[in-house]
Structures are given as C-alpha cells and as structure tokens.
C-alpha cells in the first residue's frame, strides 16, 4: 500500500447503462390523472363560458369553444348589473377584493395578536382565552346568522365594510395556526431579544412579525380565498348595490324563478371564471411561501 494519488485501476472504462424503471411512469400517470380530475371541471367552466345561454341551457356544459367569449366577458365586466347599473364585473371584483383583503388582513392582525398573547405571556387567563377562542371553531356563521345580523345592525354597521368583514373574523382558525407556529419559534430568539433590550412590543414588531412572514402568507391565502368566496353574509348585511360581490353576482344571474326565463348561463360562467382568477393568481404566485409556511409551522 503506498501513497498512491488517486489509484485508478487499469480497467476498461466502466460502461453501465441504467435500467429503465417503470415506477416513475406509474407515478406520472397517477399525477396526470389527478391533475385532470382537478382541472377538467375548471376547463369545462371556461369553455362553457364562451357559449350563449340557450346552448348551455339545452346542451349543458361545453367542451369546445363557442362564439360568445367576448360577448359574455364584456357584458359581465362592463355592463351594469342591478338597479343603479353602477355595478359591473369590475366593481364587483373590487368589492370582492376589499372583502377578501379586509377579511384576510383583519383576521391575521387579530389572530396574530391573540396568539402572541397566549403563547408568549404567562398570565392567569391564557388557558381560558385559548379555549374561549378555540370554541368558535364549533359553530359556523350560517348557523348563527340571524342573531349575528341583529347585533351587527344594532351597532349600525349595516351597509358598511366593517359590518361586512368584522363578524366573519370572529373565528379561531387564524389564532390556531399562529399558535402552532409561535410554539415552533426557537426560545433562544426571545431570550436574545430580551437581552438585547427588546420588550414585548419590540419583540413582536422586530422579531416575531418578520419571522412569521411565510406563515402570514399561508394564512393570508387561506383567508383571502375564504373571504373572497363569502356569499350569504354579504347578501344579508348589505342592501346597497355598491357592495355587490362577484359570488353574489353569479347567484343573481343564475337565479330565475321557475324557468320563466333562461338564466344567462354563459355570463354566469364567465363571471365564475373571473371570480376564480384573483384567488388562483394569489395561490399560484404565493404557493412556495404557502408550502414553506405550512412546512415550517409543522416543525
């Protein structure tokens, strides 16, 4: 045995072709099937939205493009809907956006603060507060909608964005997520921060908030989609057409009493496709953060 520098044995260069594996092919087949399962309905929705109402009414969903694409989309985007004629697809989208954003932001702010208090402070009511908030997971708004309406009304919040958004915020999902996440933040950071002279507020602002960015992104997506998709509450709580949202617009187009008219299916589908867009964009754009936020919170 000697100090051979790189002992290359005098052999013919090893030529070995890797064997073909069926496993990955099978995996891809399943994934493609899954993707089709998820996407075909959406594809059909889009194709259907390019047809006129009668075709859809008599022929159902359409797999091939029709001729009414521009018509349908232009109508829903720019033609006035409702009495004032002031609401069209664009303004409804704006309202949906306000609802989605307001809800997501409100939820994140409130639940993050609450979770911070619960996780990072030792105080007599912490446990109680957690359960008091957690219990709100148990009863969806639909089930307590009438009393909720009365309370919102008695506070004079009918036809306001506040009345639209705040009652939806009264549930624990966000708090729950943030609590899990905060528990996974290393203790040393808060210790280092305390030694660095950061009090509770500074720690929250300077350390925890920036650290939670991916988690915030994940929750933002979840909440934005949720808020964007609300229907029943906005219908009940607003009487002013200025507050129409896309989802409500869709419902209004489809809803026709006992078939005396054919619903504008094409327009409804066009609106539905439009209604999908912003959340889809949000999800697709933020998906890496989303996954990362969830992965980190699992640790």
């Amino acid at each position: 045995m000697s100090d051979a520098v790189s002992t290359a044995r005098p052999l013919a260069p090893a030529s070995h072709r890797p064997a073909f594996k069926w496993g990955p092919v099978f995996d891809h087949a399943i994934l493609i099937a899954g993707a089709a399962f998820m996407l075909v309905p959406v594809f059909l929705a889009f194709m259907t939205s390019t047809h006129d109402a009668v075709t859809i009414h008599t022929g159902g969903v359409q797999a091939l493009p029709g001729t009414s694409l521009v018509d349908n989309y232009a109508t829903v985007m720019f033609d006035g809907l409702g009495f004032s004629g002031a609401v069209n697809g664009t303004t409804m989208m704006l309202n949906s956006m306000i609802l989605g954003l307001g809800f997501a932001v409100g939820k994140i702010v409130l639940s993050m603060m609450a979770a911070y208090a619960i996780v990072y402070f030792r105080f007599p009511l912490a446990e109680f507060a957690f359960w008091a908030i957690f219990v709100t997971l148990l009863l969806p708004l639909e089930v307590r909608i009438l009393p909720s309406y009365e309370i919102v009304q008695s506070m004079g919040l009918i036809n306001t964005y506040t009345g639209l958004i705040v009652p939806l915020v009264a549930s624990a999902t966000g708090t729950f997520f943030f609590r899990q996440f905060f528990k996974s933040v290393p203790d040393e950071l808060i210790e280092a921060a305390r030694i660095d002279g950061a009090g509770p507020l500074k720690f929250f602002r300077d350390i925890l908030l920036p650290l939670s960015r991916t988690m915030i992104a994940a929750i933002f997506i979840i909440m934005f989609v949720y808020g964007w998709n609300q229907y029943l509450w906005p219908t009940l709580i607003t009487t002013n057409e200025d507050y129409f949202t896309l989802v409500r617009g869709i419902k209004q187009i489809i809803q026709v009493w006992v078939g005396s008219q054919i619903p504008e299916y094409g327009q409804a589908m066009a609106l539905a496709v439009l209604a999908m867009l912003p959340p889809v964009i949000v999800v697709v754009v933020f998906q890496s953060w989303f996954i990362k936020g969830l992965t980190e919170s699992d640790k």
Binding site: T58, G82, Y149, Q255, G259, S260
Partner: protein, 412 residues
C-alpha cells in the same frame, strides 16, 4: 323627495325588468325615489326582511312568495295592508279591479287585501305540437282525457306527461281546481290555532295514486324536485305534455326544440264536474312593511298605484310572462291583440278568471315552506318506490300538522 326601498328576489332578466320599472317610476315623477335591491332567493329575501324588521331597518316594500305569505300576514303588525296603505294615501282601491284569481290569495279572512300581488302565475299545461300530431290527439282538458290519450302518446315515442312542482301544481292547485278544502279553519284564513291539513283525503290520494300508476305504465315521468330538471326533457322534445307555469313560455320560446302550445291545467271531471275551478296564483306579492313614516307610506302607495297601472302591468306581463293582475291591464292586452300573437300568454289569466268557489281564494298556513319540503320529500319517496300513497299522506299530514301546531304557538 322621499326615498323608499324595495327588496326583491328577482334575479336574471326579471331583475332587469324590475329595475326598469323602478327607473321608469322614478322618471315619471319627482317626489319619490325608489331603490330596488336584489336580496337573493325568495327565502333569503324574506329572512333578510324579517331580520331587518327585528332590527328596525326594514325596507318599505318586501317581496314575499306564496309559501311565505302566512308568516308575514300571520305576524300582526309586521306589514301595513295595501288596502289601508292605498286608502290612507287617498288613492282609490277596489278589490274588484283585480282579476278574480288574485284577489284574496294575499288577503285576510275578512277579504282585506294585505299584500299586493306582483309576479303572479298559474300552473298550466304545455303541449308539444309535434307529439300531439304524431299521436293524432288533442291536448287534454281533463285527466280522464289524459288517461285516454296517454298510451297513444307513449306509442308515438314520447313521455306523455311531466310536471315541475308537485306541491304547487298537483297539491295546492288540486284543491282549488276542484274546489276542495285544503285545510281546516277556512283553509287557515281564520287563524293558525287549530288549523289542520286535509291532505290525507280521498281526492288527493287518488290523484297521486293515479300519478304513481301512470309512472308505472310509462305515462308519467318524474325528474326530481328541481324545476328545470323536469322542464328540460320537454324542451328537448322528448315529452308530450308538461305542466309548468304560465310564466314559462318566454323561456320556452327560446329553448324549446319544437313548436308548442298551452292549455289550462286539467281537472278530474269525476270530482269537479263539467267545469274546473280557478287556480291559486303562484309567485309573490309585495308587502308594505309596517313601522314606516306616513310620508314614506304615501310614497309606497304612490308606487303601488304606479305598479298597478295598466301600462306597467302590461309591460310586466309582456316582458316576463307573469299575468297582469288587474282587469284593466288584461283588457288592454286583449285590445292590443297581444294574445293573437302569443296565445299561450293568455292561458294563465283565463285560468285565474275561471269559476271561483269557496276554496279557491287561497290558503294560509304557517311554516308552509317546511310543509312543502315535507311534501316534496314524501313525493320523492313515492316516485322512487320507497313509500306508498297511504303512507306518504299519513306522514305529510302528521308532520304538517305538527308544524302548524308549532307555528300556532309562535303567535300567542
């Protein structure tokens, strides 16, 4: 100017017509500004109205559908009767101005009109002209006739009969078409206390036993509770006879694959005799909510006046297919020769103007939405063979009466 609001449940093209009426009204004068608001389905609109009323935020006008009428009328003090409203505003009101079938449906037991009928329709029978020709038959006037022609229609390759709303078309209107009592307490008009359904009775049971038998024979088909699910096969030309709404023809003109016509809802000669009675109206009425200022009530009355004017009624009738509610409007349509162009459009009105009887003015039952749900459920079970006619009506009667009883307690 006085601002008033109107919550309605008219989506789609109907909603647009509503908006048009409101716009026209606002343009026609400068004292009142009316704002219509779409509030979702009938149920959603009613609940929104109730919630708003409890909160003191109710609209001036609320559209309430047939099945919800008892809830609104039963709650004394929730609404201002139109009759009082109009009279209070100094407008003339004569119930006889309204066509016969719509007069008392939204009235109280004394015959005072509480809600203003708005979008009214009647169940009528549409026929596929090609199918009848092919089978060499005429559209039936009575169910007995139907039994005669059904095998021929079937032979011609058609499903002879389909309907779209069993509780409305074949239950409620069964009672009015044959002038039979639907419930005790004067069909419920005399108060909620003690009102009982009379559905578990021979006539109605016979009707459904027949339907079940026809279905067995392939003379009748049922596609579920959904209205459209039953209408579609007719539009596709697979069905010979379809019981729909008098308001359906507008849509049918666009979607039906074949020429079609309409006749009044058939009746059993064996029960009604030579001639059938008029039917209940379907659809909804406008109620003036209580608790509004005198000034706003005046404004509301003003709008109601406008709404019942022949021009507006005619416009509504033509563009939506709902019947005009005043005789004047009806006359005007006839004068204009509208029914020569569109003969089907007249069937509904004719039917509402048929002979009236003791039991044809309407019914008033609380929690009626749930009672309809029970009917729909039991009929569904019946046509899928999960239950029998006897069982089904026993259940409807029992559960319906329990609901009525519960409703009676809410009022005391």
């Amino acid at each position: 100017v006085t601002e008033i609001s109107w919550w309605h449940a008219m989506g789609g093209a109907l909603g647009e017509t509503v908006n048009e009426i409101a716009t026209n009204f606002n343009a026609s004068q400068d004292e009142v500004v009316l704002t219509p608001v779409f509030k979702g389905t009938y149920e959603e609109a009613l609940t929104a109205g109730i919630a708003a009323f409890r909160a003191g935020e109710q609209p001036n006008i609320l559209q309430v559908f047939d099945a919800g009428a008892a809830t609104v009328i039963g709650a004394k003090g929730a609404v201002k009767p139109v009759q009082d409203l109009l009279e209070g505003a100094g407008a003339s009101f004569d119930i006889e101005d309204y066509i016969s079938g719509v007069r008392y449906f939204y009235a109280d037991s004394d015959g005072k009109m509480i809600g203003m009928p708005f979008n009214s329709s009647a169940p009528i029978m549409y026929y596929n002209t090609e199918a009848l020709e092919k089978a060499g038959v005429e559209a039936p006037k009575t169910w007995e006739e139907f039994e005669q022609i059904a095998p021929k229609l079937k032979q011609a390759g058609y499903i002879p009969l389909v309907q779209s709303h069993l509780p409305w078309e074949f239950t409620e209107n069964f009672f009015s078409r044959h002038n039979l009592p639907f419930a005790t307490n004067n069909n419920g008009y005399d108060g909620a206390e003690g009102t009982k359904l009379l559905v578990n009775t021979d006539g109605l049971k016979m009707m459904f036993a027949k339907l079940a038998a026809w279905k067995e024979d392939g003379h009748f088909e049922w596609y579920g509770t959904g209205w459209g699910d039953n209408q579609t096969p007719f539009e596709q030309g697979k069905v010979a006879l379809w019981v729909g709404s008098s308001g359906s023809f507008g849509g049918l003109t666009k979607s039906a694959a074949m020429p079609f016509g309409a006749v009044p809802l058939p009746y059993w000669e064996a029960i009604a005799g030579e001639e059938g009675y008029q039917t209940f109206i379907g659809g909804a009425a406008l109620f003036a909510m209580a608790g509004k200022s005198e000034e706003e009530n005046k404004a509301t009355a003003k709008f109601f006046e406008y709404l019942t004017s022949p021009e507006v009624q005619l416009m509504w009738h033509k563009s939506t297919g709902y019947v005009p509610i005043t005789n004047a409007a009806y006359e005007r349509a006839k004068q204009q020769g509208y029914y020569d162009e569109v003969p089907q459009a007249e069937i509904g009105i004719q039917q509402l103007n048929m002979k009236a009887g003791e039991w044809t003015k309407g019914y008033r039952m609380g929690f009626y939405v749930q009672i309809r749900d029970v009917m729909n459920r039991e009929y569904g079970k019946l046509f899928t063979g999960e239950t029998t006619v006897d069982e089904a009506f026993k259940t409807i009667e029992a559960e319906g009466n329990q609901l009525l009883e519960r409703f009676a307690k809410t009022g005391s």
